[in-house]
Subunit: 274 residues, 2 copies
DNA sequence: ACCGGCTCTTGACGCAGATCAACAGCACCG
DNA sequence: CGGTGCTGTTGATCTGCGTCAAGAGCCGGT
């Protein structure tokens, strides 16, 4: 589980020498905000002055089927995004935190293809997509940064598909925890202790498990002294290396796959990324 | 399972009045090719003259970790794309057919994040990404079409996540078959009879199932006279409506979800899209 | 302070799908 | 031709996780 996302975040941090001239300078998520990524060419930065919007815990920023107008960058708080099947089944497709972007799946069809719900009181930057389009004519760096964001989202989704398709319950939960740790670390927080913003049920939905199973895995990991839970919401990772070791050794590797030519192949670098 | 992709394909077809001036005019996938989508503004179409490349069945167009240079549009043949975990487990993330694009996940990190392997002898258009970037300065329609492709890929991946996270074996297989039918139909082929280009194992990997399970579901659907298999590779859908009915009624709908406010919510339109 | 409603944990049990195994069809090849 | 290897089917058995159920902790409202 090498963490390619770490490298990319490091690159971003390096790129942020000149703070944007807009109110982004005051934004808590400035260091991680995509609009900081565009680097030296800040001639149009002043135009990236966006409106803000506050979202209360439990209410939704947009819903599947709503007309697509804006992208949203999270200034504070956390969100889940999810899709809903006709019969009411829900799949949480990602958890987003400060500095991450919401609404990318609306570009293709002019309708949002998922719900975005605040897991705690939150604030977002409202980024009219039309403005992005208009600006990108003169600022190719902006256009290509949007492409990158979209592409990374695809790569992320693919690694979640790998998780859902091939891993078992404990592995899924461990990947989930390590991924959260990594993202908190990238944001300058302690990676080994953080608060879960979502319920067991939401974690389960994300991981393709039932809430009872998530709960049981948490209990088992705690019994093994690999994690510690406080008030059911605060997690402490007591032994990240041992946690990591619980993935990829757990399941008997198919001899068939090993036999094929693809055996000497570079392994997926970003499975712990989400 | 309404099929939003059908509507979008219809829109595309309508947009293709003037055939591109390049060799795309001869391309078998012209009607579905993304580069036909850009519509009236064809001033730069002449510059979209791309190299071709032939790929033999079983060999790969690119592999995870390869430096990202090109997007590829499929002119003929079919591909799978997949990610590989460190321990050798493989997850097929999509099957691509004529007119579809490969390599979008490379934009974000300058490395491809998946493998693309030909399921039969195939030919692709080689589309240097640098050229796209250069052209988009003068052709905003091209840039925004790329954004759309990327965004639709995200939406697709999300619906696959919903499939992997919430559906059971038979539902998954049925969704898979109906989705193939729809895409063949969009390409002008009979939707009710087509040849599977991939093995049971690859289908299983895509659907998060073992090959035996896929085989058993096929047998059961055949026993129910819903499908017919010939030579293990040709599928005939004998009763698409009944097949559709096997999804979304199968699992007992959680009363809890139904109770929430989200009940009156627009249901996912694109679950059968892949 | 008390109550009603969530959220979470834990146990007992059942089942869908994985695993293991045997075999059949078929392409390719010496 | 017979052999070798790959792909697919089918049966028997096992098991990880879902399901059902009971109860405990916690929070906000009145």
């Amino acid at each position: 589980m090498s963490l390619s996302i770490v490298a990319s975040v490091a690159a971003r941090k390096a790129a942020i020498h000149a703070a944007p001239s807009s109110s982004c300078a005051l934004c808590a998520s400035r260091r991680l905000c995509w609009s900081s990524d565009v680097g030296a060419d800040d001639s149009w930065h002043a135009q990236l002055e966006f409106g803000k919007r506050k979202i209360k815990r439990g209410s939704s920023l947009f819903r599947m089927g709503d007309a697509f107008d804006n992208l949203y960058a999270i200034r504070s708080g956390a969100f889940k995004s999810s899709v809903l099947l006709e019969d009411g089944r829900e799949q949480v497709t990602s958890f987003k935190m400060v500095g991450e972007l919401l609404g990318l799946d609306g570009i293709g069809t002019d309708e949002y293809m998922s719900d975005a719900v605040a897991l705690e009181d939150a604030e977002v930057c409202v980024i009219p997509y039309a403005r992005i389009v208009a600006l990108s004519h003169d600022a190719p760096a902006l256009a290509s940064e949007i492409n990158r964001m979209l592409s990374r989202e695809i790569a992320h989704d693919q690694s979640v598909m790998a998780l859902l398709g091939t891993m078992q319950a404990e592995e899924r939960v461990v990947v989930f925890l390590l991924n959260l740790a990594q993202r908190y670390e990238a944001r300058g927080y302690a990676p080994n202790e953080f608060m879960l913003r979502m319920t067991r049920e939401e974690i389960g939905s994300y991981l393709g498990l039932k809430l009872e199973t998530v709960s049981r895995v948490f209990s088992r990991l705690q019994a093994l002294a690999l994690i510690e839970l406080e008030h059911n919401r605060t997690v402490r990772l007591l032994d990240a290396p041992k946690l990591r070791a619980r993935i990829s050794t757990a399941v008997g590797v198919e001899s068939r796959i090993a036999r094929t030519a693809r055996a000497q192949h570079a392994a997926i670098p970003a499975i712990a990324a989400a």
